[in-house]
């Protein structure tokens, strides 16, 4: 329910922005954003996003340009009556046939719930990935023509897609973990991470205000300027 409401808020914000949403040049979220060597952006911390929250646990965020091209191709394929599965088909849930592996994947998912990775990944999907997804959807559905009830229906559809995305990413991580870890190891960690201190850490990460990230970005840009200046002044 909470997910639906927050998503609705995000969607409504996007709806309010209306067609203007597609207008500003998409920002590159990759590490290479620093290539531009432009003045630091006060509101986004592209290079260091999620640094303080422990990015190891955070799913990667794609570059919007690339995402736009891919979604455009996939949606076009959809209207050309090819199946969406054909157009964009990651081996999302290739059926796991090894029962021992399947069991370990289940244990890894349980471990994610204990150590907070589950909550963190869902948090990142909700705050980062869904923002991009809604912007992409806005290229194909004209939000300005929607009635109030249409907007709620679309928000519900998007909330559903968000849940699926979270499950896909969690299963991907769980599969990688399960492939490299034994059952006793997973069980051992489930006990080891089941502490109030770990729950507090998860809480701290979930409520990270991004200030450390944006200060870190300043540090990195400053370092870049220093490097370029030192290098060029010595020639």
């Amino acid at each position: 329910m909470k997910h639906h409401l927050t998503l609705c808020a995000a969607l409504c914000a996007a709806l309010a922005a209306g067609s203007a949403l597609a207008a500003p040049a998409p920002q590159t979220r990759s590490m290479l954003a620093i290539l531009s060597l432009s003045g630091p952006d006060a509101k986004t911390s592209d290079i260091t996003a999620g640094l303080a929250a422990g990015q190891g646990a955070a799913p990667p965020v794609p570059v919007p340009d690339v995402l736009t091209r891919q979604t455009a191709a996939a949606v076009t394929a959809l209207y050309e009556n090819r199946t969406a599965d054909q157009a964009a088909s990651p081996a999302a849930d290739a059926a796991v046939t090894d029962p021992a592996l399947a069991e370990r994947i289940g244990l890894a998912r349980a471990l994610f719930r204990v150590d907070g990775a589950d909550a963190l990944i869902r948090h990142f999907v909700e705050t980062e990935h869904m923002k991009l997804i809604i912007a992409e959807v806005a290229r194909h559905i004209d939000f300005s023509k929607l009635s109030e009830s249409d907007k709620y229906r679309l928000a519900a559809i998007a909330a559903n897609a968000q849940t699926e995305l979270e499950e896909n990413i969690l299963n991907l991580s769980a599969t990688q973990t399960a492939q490299l870890m034994t059952k006793p190891e997973l069980l051992q960690l489930m006990v080891a991470f089941d502490t109030d201190a770990q729950r507090k850490l998860t809480d701290v990460r979930l409520h990270d205000d991004g200030k450390t990230d944006s200060l870190a970005e300043l540090d990195i840009r400053l370092a870049q300027y220093q490097i370029v200046k030192q290098y060029e002044s010595g020639q």
Binding site: I34, V61, S173, M181, T212, L215, A223, Q224, V228
Partner: protein, 191 residues
Amino acid sequence: MRLIYSLAVLGLALAAVPAGAQEIVAAAPVDRAIAAGDVAAVAVAQINDKADAAETQQKVDLYKQLMELNGVTQNIRNVIAATKTATRLVIIDRAGVDKLTPEQDARYNQIADNVLSATQAELIDAVASAQAQNFTTDEIHQLITANASPAAAKYNAVKFLTPDDNATAVQNYMVDAVVKIVKTWSQAQTG
């Protein structure tokens, strides 16, 4: 404690704060008779401040050990390495050449490593200072213990194994999500 935190994080504030502290001392009336108890109280307060500062620093150092174990520091190292790579491209681009000569490359490495090792230490310190204050020393010890086993080391290392594959997979999932939303929506409209 708060002051120390903001000093560590906001290098910019460094210049302003000592000047402010100086003013407060100077503004105190110098000719006022001071009771012995007042002096003692001030001395005790100073000792407490020092003890607080030492404890805070200890916690930050302990928290850095945790960051080393749970992958946060590794992640910062990755960002620093990516910065080094990206900045080399900036230099190549600005010089209008295709690539650096071995001598230039060696010089670049030296300059970049020198600057970025300081940046890396700053970033680690910033995260540790910001987060350590939320925990007691005991709690940080508990977290370190949880992350210290060979199983935990393996678990924390898995997160860094296949970043490119993961990025591709996540992107495909996102394309799927967009397609699904548009498809479900259009079906609902026509159906």
